[in-house]
Symmetry: C2
Subunit: 200 residues, 2 copies
């Protein structure tokens, strides 16, 4: 079996949302499996001395425009959320817990959470909003709420983020396949070339 594609994403990342909509389809074309890894970029940004893009002078305004245009370029809906950026550990923990039980359902949840935030302007930083999104997919609200509040999932998520940082992940979306890192939804054409023909 060919190596899987590791897909790292922050639920607060608009480019991560765009990637989440298309990565499974791209991978399937080349018989690859995708492993989804929610992360928080805060630690990486701190290490880089970076700030969330929209708050950077000059670049911030451009990025808002670029995200919306990139969505149209990919034929995907997008609306800049009222609250941005937001902390997304609740969504990430919910994903991790779901992913251990049902990877397909976890991805459905991830895409639904992304759309709730970047299309419907729901504030997914709130645990209740995350639980409501999951409930619509038939996920037991109480069971998930308990899992999200558990120390186990918190520790697990923290460790997962540390692994990502240790692998050199510093942005969202970020892909690693056969040790090769690809950063950004705009690197999908290069990732596809890699999948189609191997290292280039």
């Amino acid at each position: 079996m060919p190596a899987p594609i590791d897909f790292y994403f922050d639920f607060a990342s608009p480019y991560g949302y765009l990637a989440a909509e298309v990565i499974d389809e791209i991978a399937a074309k080349y018989g690859r499996v995708v492993i989804w890894h929610p992360i928080l970029l805060g630690a990486a940004f701190k290490a880089m001395g970076a700030a969330p893009l929209p708050s950077v002078p000059l670049k911030g305004e451009y990025v808002q425009r670029d995200v919306a245009r990139s969505a149209r370029f990919l034929g995907l809906p997008f609306r800049m959320p009222t609250h941005f950026p937001i902390p997304t550990q609740h969504a990430a923990r919910a994903f991790l817990w779901l992913n251990d039980r049902n990877t397909g359902l976890a991805r459905k949840f991830a895409r639904a959470a992304y759309r709730a935030y970047f299309v419907e302007d729901q504030n997914i930083s709130e645990a209740d909003v995350v639980l409501a999104i999951a409930a619509e997919l038939g996920i037991d609200r109480t069971e998930l709420a308990d899992a999200m509040a558990s120390g186990a999932i918190k520790d697990r998520f923290k460790a997962e983020v540390d692994v990502a940082l240790a692998r050199g992940v510093f942005g969202s979306p970020f892909f690693i396949v056969e040790g090769e890192p690809f950063w950004g939804v705009d690197r999908l054409p290069q990732l596809e070339k890699w999948l189609a023909g191997g290292p280039f």
Copy 2:
């Protein structure tokens, strides 16, 4: 006549080099003219609190890899220069002076200077190296040397960079067409879509 494409580039920018190799051909496909604008990114980086990419923790290492891979993706030669980044005001001033006289020759010079730096590892921060590159294109060395050292061209270049900043240019390559900004060689597919079908 359709609006021209403004193309901003720093001679120290590897992605700018890649763009310089392909932008005229892309524009010609859609009957557009390109106006080339050399800039220095120092002032924009200062405004953004940013550092040259290769010096940023985590991101720096990735970028070196990404530039080389992006070159291969576009089928262009590339070698990371020994000295990087470097100040490139000499090359920029030479370009400006040439461009007033012969835009085609100025572009030939720009591409030659970029290749000298990013393929042949020549240090184009040195005025002598810039003059030698120009001399190979038949440009009078003494005349160009005098122009590059003149206060007029220095003031002119400074003013041109100020105009770019005032237009919101903060990276290299940077394109503006019909008021729409596109940052990065990875935005060329979006620029092409724009040229082919108008705003999207």
